[in-house]
Structure formats: structure tokens, C-alpha cells
């Protein structure tokens, strides 16, 4: 691999505030095979005497999603996107903020939308306060604390055994708690890789800056909750929210989100399951009538 530094022109979207006019500013940067977009922006900030290009890098490891921007038109995390993979052979490379999220300044966007959509789908577990009743007794004997801890954990693992909404369903075998092992756990971990970067919302033909489809991230978050221990509590609420306007019926199944996800979150499975849940709910209401 050649480590020869190459030169590249960047056209960067500059905008002083949410309501200010936007303009393109051109910069020249040097890059090697291992230079990321974030590296280039940081180098600019260090060398320039004018106001640095605003963007955020939270974790620098594509785990928090906060630096996602349009790089050459594609929504990508600046921290782990290599310039060499995207540099056009001619003309400048454009860096722009995500279009479906409000601009705070320059490349910085507000992503509160992601939290709002997952709240709307009730994609969270209602977790009680970490309280004294959960706590093992304060004791000098470590073994009793351990025993108590395993008992508590076991209890949480076995919570899956009862399904309140379908009382006639037989108890699941105690030996294989569905959410704690095997394929289900693997899916939960894969779903939990979602960094909330917003790429899926950005590329979706059905999402708008306001309204439209809620987006795949929220559906995936709901699926993660669905597979978690203690998920039974609000299952009917989640199903109801899923079928409201903006919910799964507004998904056009373009598959763009699956392509765009930088963490390969299994969005296709999550969306397919959501479609299936929604249609079985539809048939259930039809027959109940």
C-alpha cells in the first residue's frame, strides 16, 4: 500500500446557525491511505485561523454515531471513514450535514429525532430505580452475595417464561431462556450495535424532515426490546404504536437502510418481523370482529 500523501479538495458546508444561510467553503487537504474524514477536519482546525468547521466526535470509534455526515452524498461516520475509499478521481469531495436532521452549525446536526422516534414506538424497557430491595445484603461473606446475585439473575432470565397476553401458551422450558442464549442473544447483540447515527433515516425514501416514516432505527430498537427479558409488560402498547401512522405501514421496503447501516445492524429482520407482527395483529382484529 502506498503511503504517499495525496492532495484532495474538500467542499465543506458552512452554516453559522440553524436559520443562517449556508455556503460552501473549499479546503485543500493532504491524505494517506489511513486518513479519516475526522482526521482531515481536525487537521484543518489546527492549521486554520478562522472558525473551525463545527462537527462533533464523541467516541472516535463509530460507537456513538454523533459525527455522521454526508461524505460525497453518503451518510457515514467521519471518525471511521477513510478518505482514500471515497476520494473522487476529479473534483472536490463534498462534506455536508445530514438533510433529515436540523443543522445546529456547519456539519453538526441535532439528532434528538432518533430518541423521539424510539420513544414513540415505546422502544424502551421500564426499568425501576436501582433500589435497596434488589441489593444483596451487605455482608462480609462474599459467597452469600454471589448466591443472591445468581438467584436474582436467574430470576430475570426466567421472566420470559410467562407470557401474560396469551395465557394459554404453555410455559417455555426452563432450560433455554429464549433471550439469554443462542440465536436470540446474537440478534440482540447485533441490534444493540445500532449507534443511532441516523444513516437509515437519511437514506430512507419514506422519511421526511418532519413526519413520514419513523425510520428503521426505531423499529430495530423496538425489536431489541421485544427480545429482551421483561419485554412482555408493554407488548400491546408497542404493537399499537407500530401500526399507527408513521409506523411500519409507512415502510416502503426499499432496503436502502440495510445498505446504508455502517454497523450492519440486522434491519431487514427487524423490519420483516415488524411487518409480520403488524399483519398478524390486523388478522387477529379482523377475526375478533
Amino acid at each position: 500500500m502506498s503511503q504517499q500523501a495525496r492532495k484532495l479538495e474538500l467542499d465543506v458546508h458552512r452554516q453559522d446557525g440553524p436559520d443562517s444561510a449556508a455556503r460552501w467553503q473549499r479546503y485543500k487537504v493532504e491524505f494517506t491511505a489511513r486518513t479519516t474524514v475526522a482526521d482531515a477536519l481536525d487537521a484543518l482546525a489546527l492549521s486554520s485561523t478562522s472558525a473551525p468547521v463545527a462537527y462533533t466526535d464523541g467516541c472516535l470509534a463509530s460507537a456513538c454515531g454523533s459525527c455522521t455526515m454526508l461524505v460525497g452524498g453518503r451518510p457515514l461516520p467521519a471518525c471511521t471513514t477513510l478518505l482514500a475509499e471515497l476520494a473522487p478521481t476529479r473534483g472536490p469531495l463534498r462534506l455536508a450535514p445530514l438533510r433529515k436532521f436540523p443543522v445546529v452549525r456547519d456539519l453538526l446536526t441535532s439528532r434528538t429525532r432518533l430518541r423521539a422516534t424510539s420513544a414513540r414506538l415505546h422502544a424502551y424497557l421500564e426499568t425501576p430505580a436501582f433500589s435497596a430491595k434488589d441489593e444483596p445484603k451487605v455482608t462480609s461473606d462474599s459467597h452469600s452475595a454471589l448466591a443472591e446475585a445468581s438467584a436474582l439473575e436467574q430470576a430475570s432470565v426466567l421472566e420470559q417464561a410467562s407470557v401474560p397476553e396469551q395465557a394459554s401458551v404453555p410455559e417455555q422450558p426452563r432450560s433455554a431462556p429464549a433471550h439469554g442464549t443462542g440465536a436470540t442473544l446474537a440478534e440482540r447483540i447485533a441490534l444493540a450495535r445500532c449507534t443511532g447515527c441516523g444513516a437509515c433515516i437519511e437514506v430512507c425514501p419514506e422519511t421526511r424532515q418532519h413526519g413520514g416514516f419513523l425510520g428503521a432505527a426505531a423499529i430495530a430498537a423496538q425489536r431489541l426490546v421485544e427480545l429482551s427479558p421483561g419485554a412482555n409488560a408493554a407488548r400491546s402498547t408497542r404493537l399499537a404504536r407500530l401500526t399507527e401512522p408513521g409506523g411500519i405501514h409507512d415502510c416502503g421496503s426499499s432496503g436502502a437502510c440495510v445498505e446504508a447501516c455502517p454497523e450492519s445492524v440486522p434491519l431487514d429482520t427487524a423490519l420483516a418481523n415488524a411487518h409480520a407482527d403488524a399483519s398478524s395483529a390486523f388478522w387477529r382484529t379482523l377475526f375478533r370482529r
Partner: protein, 638 residues
């Protein structure tokens, strides 16, 4: 200008801040959660996993030993006794801890302990915990008001000096928001802009500086923990990824070529010609070695001429090999697969075949806002007390990396997240106890007066910048980072990152020059520019405190290595800002809160618990080395 009212204000945005908010809201309080970052962005820490709490006694021993006896014992004991239920609680909150086919949790062994106790999700435990906590706040609806991208500018204090709210400012528009609340909790983390690798880093030390200007005591700011970071080069001013804890927990080795001029790629160097740091090859059970000890050894080797260069990129910093190529591929793929493939893509090297390049790097500040704890008659921590996680200002609480509790002079691997989350729980309980004690004495008039004063004090810094200066604020930040690294931190040639008084005097001089340069730094008329100037001033203040604290710690302790000086009884270095703006060191903290006076000495007392006494003049790391017969063969003579 907007005015908000909430029972408690939480300032921060990472796991600690979200946990405090959760704990308060789940107990029925209204919370204003305000942070410097836009929503959903946090630095990655504690990726290795979380101690499962299965052996509280060993956990407490490891924590105290790792912290070189500087951590107060009662809080450490309480934390370790709660670790098991914390893990259970996280499981119920939906964290998909990894398990084998039988449903048995997978564990890895993290630095600083001889047992395998850390449960985890790949190498992104903290990211997943943070994300789930973030979502879980939705359950509280309007109880939680969230405000991202705001800087803390001033604390509002009533006639008695109690904190009754704060003023925050939109970092782009400059719009002010006053928040009246019974208590304020600071949870902005421990790695700050002074040491951050990137100009766009979110974390700022501003909250600590604001609290200090309001009179709060800071503790142990000189304690800066190095770790081993995966090197990722480019035009970047620093390392980019701290994956070491997970990989070392799985058995990764750190080594250097025996011959300093060995230019072969790592995989071509035979085992006999490798200088392994830490326990012998494959023998991870031999030593409870902490990463900061390995980092220290690396720096000594570098100073003696060892170390590898990234020849491809002609880097200026010496590096070491972090090697997982001897480990089974399937095992690694299960436990850190997605991170390793990302590293492969970014570094152009296959970690399954080739040793990775890594370097010692500062990863966290162990000190922060001094916080108190209360104990019962038998010396155990009393959580339900207004003193729990209280700073020296009544009504101001702190937790997570922003406070000085739990880690002492060295943080062990499994404790990053345990201390953040348990501390957040404790701070919430403490703030609630304080609120309960204060409630009833109606102070409405006093609060509005306090808020007016706070607003008056929150004057936006006037920019005196001229366009002729070549040094922008991001450039000054980079100079500050380099200066701190050279004097109290780590560089390849600074002999174990050691500190002496000459260096500290030089550091203070350099900081003065940076302060002068900042006055001339170019700025436009925008609020962002003013914010950047102010945040640089905050970093400078804390850098000065760091230098003064380092001078005051006359001994080597934990992560702090001093060239001269002997061994003392463990004590905190406490700093306060005088009315004249000078930094003053204290022997004890005296404060008044919820109608009672409290005093705690800087000396760490054993709190009546039956832990082993600090072993006289021995450093904890020496004791650690004594655990291990195979380690220390190549220990450099100081």
C-alpha cells in the same frame, strides 16, 4: 432567555449523567438533564466490561490495591457490595451480556485483578449501556427535560451559599437558560478537552472550572491514568481508540523487539527476540498488572532506546506491539469481532495475523470534584445521607469521572462502569436526602435573587482577538495537550512520565504563555468562538491546578510517578480557588450542608473496616509485582 424549574439539574451526557437522571426520575423527581454535547454522543470508556460483583471481598481488595490505598474505603466497599445487583439490574434494563450456549455468562479478566470477573458485550459494553439508559428515560415523559449543546456558565447560590440552580448557555446561539433546582449534579466525565485527541471532542472541563470558581474543592487533579491505546495514524494529533482493555482481557500481549534496531515486521520477529511486558507469554494469571504499570514500563524502554516506529507513516511517536495473533481466531471473533474487523480496515493490517501498533496514552483523570461520604457506627457507607457524593458546596453533587471517588490513584479495569453507575445511584440518593432535608424552608425570593446574581456573573467573554495571530484556539488546545503531556503526562522520551519540581515550574511558565496567547487568539464575533475561548480558559485553569497539585504530592502513588520524594500516608491533594483567583491547597474540607457542619481531613482514614493496612513504604504496584514470580525480571533500575 428561558427559565426552567426542576427538582434537580444534572449536567453531563454520558452513562453517569443518564444514570443519575434515571435514578432521580424513577423516584418521582423532575430532572433537567443538560449537557455540552448534542444528544446521544459520548466518549467511549470502560469498553472492557463490568465486574460481575461475584466476589465483593476480592473486588474491594483489588480496587484498594489498584488505587494504591488512596481511595476511601467505605465507598469502595459499598460499591463492591452493590456490583452484583448492578449487573443484575443492567440485565433487566436490557443489556445483552454475552453468554455461552448453556446460558452461562462469558467473562474476561481485566487489568488489576487475578480473577476472571468481567461480564461484557463484545468490546462496546459502555456504548450499549449508555444507549439503553438514554432510551429508558423516555418512560418518565415530561419528568425529564433534556437540553443538549448547552454550556454551564455559572452556579446560582443563595444567601447561605447553597447551590439553588444554574445558568446554561446554548453553545451556538448563546441563548441563556436559567434552571432553578434544589440540587445540581455534575457528571461530565473524567477525560477532558485538555487531553482529548481531537479539536472537535465533546468533553470539556468547563463544568469543573465553573464549580471551582464558585468555591468547590477539587481533589487529586494530578492523577492522570495512562493506558495502552491502539495507534491509528494520519494527520491526527493523538491516538484514536482504546481497545486495549478488551483485548488484554482476552490474552493480548504487549511486547517490543529485543533489539532496538530490529526493523522487521512484527510477525517475522521470533518469540525469543521479543521483550514481553507484563507476565510471561500466555500466563495472564500470573499478575494483576494494571495497564498504567505496563505503560510506565514501555516509557522506560522507550527512554532507553527501545520501541518501534511506524515506518510506513514515519510517525514521530514510539510505539509497541499489541498482539492477539497467538489467540484462537474463533474465540476473538465471538468476543471482539466487530471491533477487530474495524481495526483491520482502518489500519490495513490483519490483527489475526499481525501484531497491532499501540502506544501508551493518557486515558483518564482520576481526580475531580472532591465528594464526601457518610459512614455509620460500624464504618460502612451510609448511602441515604445528604453527605453522599456531596461536594464542598451545599446542593452541589458530583459523580462519575467528574468526581474523585472510588479509584484512588489507579483505576482497575472492571471498575470504570461500576463506579460510574453506582456513584450515579449514590449521588441521586444523596441529592434526594439533601433535598428532603432542605424542603420546607421556602426560599423562592432567595432563589430569584441568586439567579439574578448568577446571570450577572455569566458575562460572555469579550473577544479581544486580532487576526494577526497565527495560533487559533484549536491550535492552542493542541499546544496545551502537548505541554501537559511533556510535563505531567507521557512522551516517548520523558523517562517513565516522571514528574519533578523543575518540570512543574516550567509547566506553570508555559501555561502563563498559553494564557497570554489565548488573549490574542483570533476570533470572529460568533458565540461559538466566544465559547471556544472560554472553554480554553477553563482548561488552562485546570491545568494550573494540575501543576500545583502535582507539586504538592511529594511522593509516588499509583499512576503518579515522582523522581524524588519518599512514601507518605495516603492523602488527597485538595485545591481551592481563593477570592483573588490564586490556587490554594487545603489540609481538610470544611463545609456546611442541610443545616449541619462537616469536616473531612485530606488523610485517608481506614473508616474502621478490616482491610489490610497500607503497607508502609511499599508502592501498591511493587506489591502487585510481588504477586508474580515471572514478572519484573526486566524491571528497569530507576
Amino acid at each position: 432567555m428561558t427559565a426552567l424549574v426542576a427538582d434537580v439539574t444534572v449536567y453531563g451526557g454520558g452513562p453517569s449523567a443518564l444514570m443519575v437522571t434515571h435514578e432521580l426520575a424513577a423516584r418521582g423527581l423532575s430532572v433537567a438533564l443538560v449537557g455540552p454535547a448534542p444528544a446521544g454522543a459520548w466518549p467511549v470508556v470502560a469498553e472492557g466490561g463490568i465486574d460481575d460483583g461475584s466476589d465483593p471481598a476480592a473486588h474491594a481488595r483489588d480496587t484498594l490495591l489498584g488505587g494504591d490505598y488512596l481511595a476511601a474505603r467505605a465507598p469502595v466497599r459499598a460499591m463492591c457490595e452493590h456490583a452484583a445487583s448492578l449487573w443484575t439490574w443492567l440485565g433487566k434494563a436490557g443489556v445483552p451480556f454475552m453468554r455461552d450456549e448453556q446460558g452461562k455468562p462469558l467473562r474476561r479478566r481485566l487489568e488489576g485483578t487475578l480473577s476472571t470477573r468481567a461480564v461484557f458485550v463484545e468490546a462496546r459494553t459502555v456504548a450499549i449501556v449508555t444507549d439503553l439508559l438514554d432510551r429508558a428515560l423516555a418512560a418518565f415523559g415530561g419528568k425529564v427535560t433534556r437540553l443538549g449543546h448547552h454550556a454551564l456558565t455559572t452556579l446560582a447560590r443563595d444567601d447561605d451559599g447553597a447551590v439553588v440552580g444554574c445558568v446554561v448557555e446554548d453553545r451556538t446561539s448563546g441563548d441563556r437558560v436559567t434552571i432553578a433546582s434544589n440540587a445540581v449534579v455534575i457528571a461530565t466525565g473524567g477525560i477532558e478537552k485538555s487531553f482529548a485527541p481531537s479539536p472537535a471532542a465533546l468533553a470539556t472541563e468547563s463544568a469543573l472550572a465553573v464549580c471551582m470558581r464558585a468555591g468547590a474543592v477539587l481533589a487529586n487533579l494530578e492523577l492522570l491514568q495512562p493506558s495502552i491505546a491502539i495507534w491509528r495514524e494520519s494527520g491526527s494529533p493523538g491516538p484514536r481508540r482504546f481497545l486495549c482493555a478488551s483485548l488484554r482481557g482476552e490474552g493480548a500481549r504487549v511486547w517490543l523487539p529485543r533489539h532496538a534496531d530490529d526493523a522487521r515486521p512484527g510477525r517475522e520477529i521470533p518469540k525469543a527476540e521479543r521483550d514481553y511486558l507484563g507476565p510471561a507469554d500466555g500466563d495472564m494469571d500470573a499478575s494483576a498488572l494494571t495497564d498504567h504499570r505496563v505503560a510506565e514500563q514501555l516509557l522506560a524502554r522507550f527512554a532507553a532506546g527501545g520501541g518501534v516506529w511506524d515506518r510506513e507513516l514515519r510517525t514521530t511517536r514510539k510505539l509497541a506491539f499489541l498482539d492477539v495473533s497467538h489467540l484462537p481466531r474463533a474465540h476473538l471473533t465471538t468476543r471482539a469481532g466487530s471491533e477487530l474487523s474495524q481495526i483491520a480496515r482502518l489500519s490495513g493490517a490483519d490483527p489475526f495475523l499481525e501484531p497491532l501498533l499501540a502506544m501508551p496514552s493518557l486515558t483518564c483523570r482520576l481526580g475531580g470534584l472532591w465528594v464526601d461520604h457518610a459512614t455509620n457506627a460500624s464504618g460502612a457507607m451510609l448511602l441515604d445521607s445528604p453527605r453522599t457524593h456531596a461536594t464542598s458546596l451545599a446542593g452541589l453533587y458530583a459523580c462519575g469521572g467528574a468526581c474523585h471517588q472510588y479509584h484512588g490513584a489507579g483505576r482497575i479495569g472492571g471498575n470504570g462502569l461500576v463506579a460510574d453507575l453506582f456513584g450515579a445511584h449514590a449521588a441521586a440518593v444523596g441529592a434526594m436526602a439533601y433535598r428532603a432535608a432542605c424542603i420546607g424552608n421556602s426560599r423562592t425570593a432567595s432563589v430569584s435573587g441568586a439567579m439574578t446574581t448568577a446571570l450577572d456573573n455569566a458575562v460572555t467573554l469579550q473577544n479581544t482577538g486580532s487576526t494577526s495571530s497565527e495560533r487559533s484556539v484549536p491550535r492552542l488546545h493542541e499546544e496545551l495537550r502537548a505541554t501537559l503531556s511533556a510535563h505531567v503526562g507521557l512522551t516517548s522520551d520523558n523517562d517513565r512520565g516522571r514528574v519533578d519540581n523543575d518540570k512543574l515550574t516550567a509547566l506553570l511558565g508555559a501555561l502563563d504563555l498559553l494564557g497570554e496567547a489565548a488573549l490574542k487568539a483570533p476570533s470572529d464575533s460568533s458565540i461559538s468562538s466566544a465559547t471556544a475561548h472560554r472553554e480554553f480558559a477553563d482548561c488552562l485553569l485546570l491545568a494550573r491546578v494540575t501543576a500545583h497539585s502535582a507539586r504538592a504530592r511529594a511522593e509516588s502513588r499509583g499512576v503518579f510517578v515522582r523522581v524524588d520524594g519518599g512514601r507518605e500516608r495516603p492523602r488527597d491533594v485538595l485545591a481551592i480557588l481563593t477570592d483573588g483567583g490564586a490556587i490554594q491547597l487545603l489540609d481538610s474540607v470544611r463545609y456546611q450542608s442541610a443545616g449541619a457542619h462537616h469536616e473531612r481531613s485530606a488523610s485517608i482514614d481506614p473508616d474502621g473496616l478490616d482491610d489490610p493496612m497500607p503497607p508502609g513504604n511499599q508502592r501498591a504496584s511493587d506489591l502487585d509485582a510481588a504477586h508474580s514470580p515471572t514478572f519484573d525480571a526486566k524491571e528497569p533500575t530507576p
